[in-house]
Subunit: 331 residues, 2 copies
């Protein structure tokens, strides 16, 4: 069987360009004993993939040029030579950026496509949702009645986080770029939404939206957002540092926040985290999520591109703000 | 009775200059019922006083021009009209920057000048020591066998922290400015001491002194130190942000660390703190400190200026690096 997959052409810094990716056709082997053949149906693109394309060793290995890239994917088992999975089962894997693959069954996670739509396992019920949940629950320790500022509120993690924070009883100020996005943030429940591209002074806009101050900031952006957060946070404010997408395409380092002394004078806490460190929250997460989804408090939201050849475009779109909610590619 | 005290002439930014302070002579009233007259013997100068001189409201009110400044002080009760204190008792107060004062007894803390020398209550056994202890114990959670980088290692908090961290079983890399200071850091137990004024690349110097990486950074300095810390910290590294003395005299904001994304990619934690938030550790602190001092693991270290008129000079000296250990003025 033939499959198409996206390879990285070379490591790069700076803006993402189409020529850094190539679509390759490969022949898949027959599954060996214990292996399955899976046809991917949904592929995920995520900001954390960016440093892997630069050849940087972070918490995860860099992508290798000339090889298929990895990423979250949900697919259907087409052939099975394993007792653990049968044809028709849905599985989640990190073997994305390809239409189909052959792999040992034991490395794949079976998901229930009757309980939730298959693609939700890449979004609100998957690593994206768990990321938002871990940031709010464990890193920030969000309490009922507190005010949260969610940056990149229309993004995958941001839109999950807005809904979760509301379900936890917090007041939520969202920021996003452009009216379509701030409208989306309000639609999913944010109490206020600020278009950071349309305000002359982000700090002032946040202060107006949260006159009683901000207790916690969910950091997805970096740069001027972090500067404003250090200024508007109340004493004992907490920052969950999930990502800094504004920095990932920097070719030369940008200066950091000039107001770091606020961390001392206001006893602020800032903690970076990676979802993989918080898998122990999975049980609690699914319990809360099911209850929130059944009561209609939380919904799955995504932007979908069609066809594997659209993967680079979908990925690039993360940096130009093309997505509302989770960005997915349907194979 | 006459007393002399130091007044702030006006709020200021930028470098500290002698003309911002004036020595005033005042007449003290007789103690009223419940009050005592105290002659200060030891006065403390501390970096946290600097923002108060700029008129900034931080976690503590600004100093007011034309009024005596406040600060840690230990003195002897000369007259008492309170049952709680008798003549000859030693008390610690925040009524420093003056030779003597009259105040209600209930706002003063009696200290045992037989157990420890009176000045130790302003240093290793006082807020300075508790600051170092809270940073290591609670903010960092320092564990035996870990490597700590203590910045401003020859300072009051730094020199206490180096000794405490060694007593806790950690490996300690100290930084300080000048050979006299690095020698002092080594003398009090640091495993390695780096003169940051004498190395072309602070990050490289730290990496060489800690080839296995750094688990925790005690931040007293800010600026290039913090940049280097974000680079050299291992995954899950913790930063106790106690102060950023390099920034306090800034007239215009300096750019912050360009490498803040390390907080995300290495899951670092940075938390600011003020000693007053951690008074609940006092009992545990005194217990550990007594045991460490009795076994000779920890010693009180100070630099002493004589005469209240030397207060501004002693304070200014904090920013030019004039002190080894705690900076004190003996009245």
């Amino acid at each position: 069987m033939k499959s198409r997959e996206i390879h990285l052409v070379r490591h790069f810094t700076g803006a993402v360009k189409p020529e850094y990716f190539t679509l390759a056709e490969v022949d898949l082997p027959e599954p060996a004993e214990g292996e399955v053949l899976v046809a991917n149906e949904w592929l995920s693109v995520d900001p954390y993939m960016r440093p892997r394309m630069a050849g940087l060793k972070t918490y995860i290995d860099p992508f290798m040029p000339g090889k298929p890239m990895e990423g979250g994917a949900v697919g259907k088992v087409i052939k099975s030579r394993s007792g653990a999975l049968k044809e028709g089962d849905y599985v989640m894997s990190m073997l994305g950026w390809r239409e189909a693959y052959v792999a040992p069954a034991k490395g794949l996670m079976k998901v229930d496509a009757n309980l939730l739509p298959a693609h939700a396992y890449l979004g609100i019920a998957g690593l994206t949702g768990l990321t938002a949940y871990a940031g709010l629950k464990r890193i920030i320790g969000l309490k009922e009645g507190e005010t949260l500022w969610m940056s990149a509120g229309a993004g995958a993690v941001g839109s999950a986080g807005i809904q979760f924070a509301k379900a936890m009883g917090a007041r939520v100020i969202a920021t996003a770029g452009g009216k379509a996005k701030t409208d989306f943030c309000l639609e999913i429940g944010a109490d206020a939404a600020i278009d950071y591209k349309d305000v002359p002074d982000l700090r002032k806009a946040i202060k107006e939206a949260a006159p009683e101050g901000v207790n916690a900031y969910f950091e997805n952006v970096g740069g001027d957002h972090l500067v404003a957060a250090l200024d508007v946070l109340n004493q004992f404010g907490r920052i969950a540092a999930c990502g800094m997408i504004s920095r990932y395409n920097d070719e030369t380092p940008s200066p950091g926040p000039h107001n770091m002394t606020n961390i001392v004078t206001k006893s602020l806490m800032m903690r970076g985290f990676i979802v993989t460190e918080h898998f122990d929250l999975q049980g609690e997460f699914i319990k809360d999520l099911s209850s929130w989804m059944m009561s209609g408090k939380v919904k799955s939201r995504e932007t979908v591109y069609e066809g594997i050849e659209k993967m680079p475009e979908a990925f690039t779109g993360l940096f130009t703000g093309a997505n509302l909610g989770k960005m997915l590619v349907k194979v």
